[in-house]
Amino acid sequence: MSGRRTETGGRIDRLRTIRFTFDGKAYTGHAGDTLASALLAAGVTLFGRSFKYHRPRGLVAAGVDEPNALVTVLRDGTREPNVPATQVEIFDGLVAESQNRFPSLSFDLGAVNGLGGRFFGAGFYYKTFMGPVIGPLKGTRVWMLCEWFIRRAAGLGRAGRAADPATYERVNAFCDVLVVGSGLAGLVAARAAALEGKRVILAEADATMGGSANWSGERIGGRPADEWAEDTTAELAAMDNVRLLPRTTVWGYYDGNTLAATERVSGHKAQAAKAEPRHRTWTIRAGTVVLATGALERPIVFPGNDRPGVMLAGAAERYANEFGVLPGRRIALFANNDGAYRAAAALAAAGAGIAAIVDVRPAISEGARMLAGMAGGELLLGHAVTGTQGGTALSGISVRRFDAGRPTGEARALPVDCLAVSGGWSPVIHLASQAGQKPVWSDERQAFLPPEPTQNWLGAGAFTGAAITAEALAQGRAAGLKAAGGKADRTKQPEVEAPTLDPAPAPVFEIAVPDGREKAFVDFQHDVTADDVRLARREGFVSVEHMKRYTTLGMATDQGKTSNVPGLAIMAAERGVPIPEVGTTRFRAPYASVSLGSIAAERHGDLRPARLTPMHDWHVEHGAVMQAAGLWFRPQIYGLPGETVEQAYVREARTVRAGAGIVDVSTLGKIAVQGPDAAAFLDRVYTNTFSTLPVGKARYGLMLREDGFVFDDGTTWRLGENDFLMTTTTANAARVMQHLEYFLDVVWPDLRVHLTSVTDEWAGAAVAGPDARKVLERAVTGTAVDDAALPFMGIVRGEVDGAPVMVCRLSFSGELAYEVYCGAGHGTHVWEALVEAGEPFGIVPYGLEALGTLRIEKGHVTGSEIDGRTTARDLHLDGLLSKKKPFIGSAMANREGLADPDRLSLVGVVSLDGRPLNGGAHVTLAQSGPGGLGESIGHLTAVCYSPALQKYVALALLRGGSALHGTRAFVSDPMRGRFGPVEIVSHHFFDPEGSRLHG
């Protein structure tokens, strides 16, 4: 047994020894220990180096509020930095290391920063690096010189670079009552609500339910408080309408009484169970929330208050009572309230020597006096601690008389190895602040109390400012009952045995020592001192928001849990105004650090949703390079060994024009438009007319947005009198669906039309090329596919190898072409049959690159040209704008600016230097080169090598449009260094008469 562990007592399991390492050194602890308690038991006093000055730091707290003892936990090759040692449960094999030190924690070169203390004060960065000139250098240059050193010297832990093998997940939960915090108030609230039959979730940030009952030393119902809490927890665990969530920090309170919480599922285990996530983020939707989040103790600001060995009194009490660890052998206490006296008595009972209790107040309550008697040691009322001695551990303190708010008289030295401090308590109102008005300052409690709720929550326990256990229990029970909508009180209020103490602290936050040379810290984690706060005031940053940003007080990972109120108090004293006049900042989520993994959860890696066509596996098996297109994956090319992408698509496109090719078009958006008003509806949403379309025929249609710009295009097939199959571009499928639904719901609710997404119902294969009909003749049964049976834009039904199909003769490539649609479950079957039927004709599957090449050669537009800024006229599609009927966008399409002849409009561009063109490159009429760029008249939208023309060509949107045909111009692409001559031509590069379409 090491020096600091008590012989008996505490809630740890002394029969179970756990081995771990910290900074490479082996230690042991017991089940129930945190890394902090185990190291403290082993005599460790130094836990970290401070942010700016690299000062040695020890434990301040025992819980989530710990500002100093941040460690990095190493696991499975990954690093989890900036975890408070107080929040790490030890397990066999735990490896942790300290942070922000070099080369080691005990010998840290960065500590020289402490010597330049004045230099690194508040506003250091602003003054040093944004000043106009320092010597020969501009401020920003100084920054560039110093940045590397400063970034290394100042900071927290380092994140790892290795991929995290752990899994994370999210889960949704619904309950009638969510109780946050399982201290006594939370426990009884949960029980009261549960007994009313409500669905209850009880979330506790710590590993064990019970909160302060685990270390208060009080007795409830005749038993130790921790046992009473244990029994109540067991009672709740046995109820199937209750879910207990230990190790779960509720960190955000959002609209609709929705709260976010993160559960530490397996990180505390030596070996996670199979498939167990490390963290799980809960989204909890609660009818009513009971906030029983307790209160956090505040330190007192005095010179040298950051020396390792100076800790909060409640933390010292907790280490002794819960973990059986004495934070010191000879301990002094320093307080402005009665709470520290209970700690003094507990520490004495656990075996520590109490040297003195130093209290700024001249008089104390009877209860406190009784506890002081039990603790032993000197009782120094009307005194204050004015300094500390020691290096990496405390060796003594200086005490002076404290009168009228200032230290007086000679300093007295007290040799102690631990100073337990209590500066009063701040209710944990973070969640309440996210779901409430402004917090309310209480002069009596010297604390901000919870605000008026703006959402449905109730408070209970120390959260409300309640200082005694009996009050917390009564509040908890009342809140639980009210949250459950219950009336009858089914539970009995248990007897509480606890000393009677005065809940009101003295309004003392800082012991200012004039001419004191030692720093007095307010924010330990960001190294902000009382002098920094004063400096902020002198320089005019007097409001809380300005002070916070100027000094960075409260902006570290602990978000000022221990420092906000002392900081405000010091500013208020400097300004001579009451504390609430300085204001308080609204707390933001998250209350405590949340792992990014648990937020990203499943939307990561192979769990990212992907859409696959029915023929996906065939494509992959046949050498396709798959390309993401939105959430879809589509074949880019089916490359042969040794082929470049260009060689592959040129071969594929050439084969289509020479014989036959087949392409997967299953990704096209498909919408069933059904009902007696379907035709009338289509007339309104398309620019052209569909009511005249005969059954069994398809028509190309164009849609505009309300503002008159082109929205989408596609073919729509009339399958029956009241039954249309609309196709959309792949990219716009969801948007078109929403657009149409909007008009049916909002604008024309009188139309009897149903819209249903059938994109996934149909697999589509387009067979194109001069031999396409011959391929179909071999494959399709049950119908003729000749010109008479299947004219251009005609539709027939038949079968391919036993699978029902619909065949529509339409073309995107300019060749004779057919789209063969079948049930998606038959997709591969039909595809394979078509490929087999095409073998005598040398059919090839082709991908997006060849598809793009074929359409560029024909001057067909796609999303590259329909970019939200082009009109039908710009794209030479104005022939589709009906003059006989209004349609969506019809009026706005005729705006003056949209008919301007100077608008960018569609042309073709041919490379004259035989080199490839780049999409997005600009076009200039004047010679353009690296030495001087001509004025842009537009840009290239789509580029390819055209096997039909044997040239590099592009589609382009150029000012002047068709009037430029035959003009010589230049591409200008300074980003990629591509300049050169081009000719502007018609966008109909190939077969402008469309003779091939008809075979």
Binding site: Y254, D255, G256, T258, T283, R285, T454, R684, E706, D707, Q738, E741, Y742, D745, V746, V747, P749, P886, F887, S890, A891, M892, N894, R895
Partner: protein, 108 residues
């Protein structure tokens, strides 16, 4: 934010798509009054406070809903199917005063 879909019940805002201001009277489809269309397509009141707006329950029943939402607090005062609510084309302009440019012809 939760929206209580009249069909599906309260659902997270992630299931919904904002579909625009619900205070816009759509001109008669055959109208060629560009000022009226301009108002409909481009002019918005952008109030700080209660606002009538369309939300589609795109991740649920796909109905369009008329939601009265406070833009300052996200508080939702009412949700109804648009189909059972008055159609904006037949509604008068909203009661809230809307700033409009004095003259649209002024620009060069």
């Amino acid at each position: 934010m939760l929206i209580a879909c009249p069909y599906c019940g309260p659902r997270d805002v992630a299931e919904f798509t904002y579909q625009g201001d619900a205070n816009r009277p759509r001109p008669d489809p055959a109208s060629t009054d560009l000022d009226a269309w301009n108002d409909y397509v481009y002019q918005r009141a952008n109030p700080a406070g209660p606002h009538r707006e369309y939300w589609q329950h795109s991740g649920g029943c796909r109905s369009h809903l008329l939601v009265t939402r406070n833009t300052l607090t996200h508080e939702i005062a009412g949700v109804a199917f648009v189909r059972s609510a008055p159609v904006p084309a037949t509604k008068p302009a909203p009661a809230a005063p809307r700033k409009r440019p004095a003259s649209r012809k002024a620009k060069p």
